[in-house]
């Protein structure tokens, strides 16, 4: 389950039993820093409680684990995990689906823009070298 996910999950469980101390133990969880900003952005305090962040971390990791396991069940016939499996899983959930398709289409555009950028770069270099030679 999530135990196999990473050793960090066991560390966060230790955190829930012990009071958090600035000791040498690193039990920040997987997404500690980003989650703090994210929770503030979504309506939490500017400084969310560390217990809340740790719990949210566990919730998110569990959610992602379930998501991936379900996607593997669906996509196992194909033998490989693909994006369409995830899109199928969240088809009922409108905000997630829209957000996902938005991100993916933007990724495509960025990829193409990057290609164009490199292409222009090469053209520039070629013309420069031609000028230098000629």
């Amino acid at each position: 389950m999530s135990n196999s996910a990473a050793g960090t999950s066991s560390k966060t469980r230790a955190a829930s039993s012990q009071p958090s101390e600035p000791s040498s133990k690193r039990r920040r969880g997987v997404f500690h820093r980003e989650l703090q900003h994210m929770m503030y952005g979504f309506g939490d305090d500017p400084n969310p409680l560390p217990e809340s962040v740790a719990l949210m971390d566990d919730i998110v990791v569990e959610y992602i684990t379930e998501l991936v396991h379900k996607a593997q069940d669906i996509g196992s016939q194909r033998g490989k995990l693909s994006v369409e499996d995830f899109l199928y899983l969240i088809r009922k959930d409108a905000p997630k689906l829209n957000r996902c398709t938005e991100l993916l289409s933007m990724n495509e555009e960025l990829k193409q823009a990057r290609k164009l950028f490199e292409h222009d770069d090469e053209n520039l270099r070629k013309t420069f070298e031609d000028d230098a030679d000629g």
Binding site: M39, Y40, G41, K96, E102, L103, S105, A113
Partner: protein, 212 residues
């Protein structure tokens, strides 16, 4: 090139996205502006605000992908905040919102009326995102395979962020019901998680109970 522009932003400016997504039909165009006026320093999450949040997430959060790439480059929190100040105006200026000038104008109208606290919260909302490397590592450890393609990482990061938003909003609703204030506590998160489970937004462990 403007200051601290990476090629992604420059490229993005040149090609306005033609998003194939159908954006949600505007619930009530008029209610959005009054909402921003009535928002206090402590944003209280009513249903309208949830709608606005969803609306914002769906239609106007195109820049989040760009900002998350920037976020990945900045590991230091202090550096982030300094750079955010400079880049904030740049981002607001080129607000594509799916190439819809109508929505763009509306977003500008709303954003211009934000208080400082609201603006900083909105900034965090846009910029926060999961690190690609962490997500990749987590996904690889879950699936057991080493290769996770980049679109999968992007998709799962987006899904997880929306999920976090749902849980936090539900927790805030619960706090309002219990008439509590201050930072969100784990008990609120647990209750929110339980409610989302009842609604069916969270996957259950078993797929089919028929053949166990």
């Amino acid at each position: 090139m403007k200051q601290s522009k990476d090629p992604f932003e420059a490229a993005f400016e040149e090609s306005p996205p033609e998003s194939p997504i159908e954006t949600e039909p505007d619930p009530d165009a008029d209610t959005e502006i009054p909402i921003s006026n009535s928002l206090n320093s402590q944003p209280i999450h009513t249903n309208e605000e949830e709608e606005e949040d969803n609306h914002v997430k769906n239609t106007t959060s195109i820049n989040t992908a760009i900002t998350t790439t920037k976020n990945n480059n900045n590991n230091n929190k202090d550096d982030e905040e300094d750079e955010e100040e400079d880049n904030m105006d740049v981002e607001l200026a080129k607000f594509p919102t799916a190439g819809d000038p109508h929505k763009m104008a509306k977003m500008q109208a709303i954003l211009s009326q934000f208080t400082e606290e609201q603006m900083s919260r909105y900034e965090s909302f846009r910029r926060a995102g999961f690190q690609k490397a962490n997500m990749k590592r987590l996904l690889a450890s879950i699936t057991g395979s080493q290769k996770i393609s980049i679109p999968i990482t992007i998709a799962v990061s987006g899904i997880a962020k929306v999920f976090v938003g749902e849980v936090v909003e539900a927790a805030r609703t619960i706090m309002k019901e219990r008439k509590e204030s201050g930072p969100i506590r784990p008990c609120h998160l647990r209750e929110a998680h339980r409610r989302l489970k009842l609604e069916g937004k969270i996957f259950k462990r078993t797929t089919s109970r028929l053949f166990r």
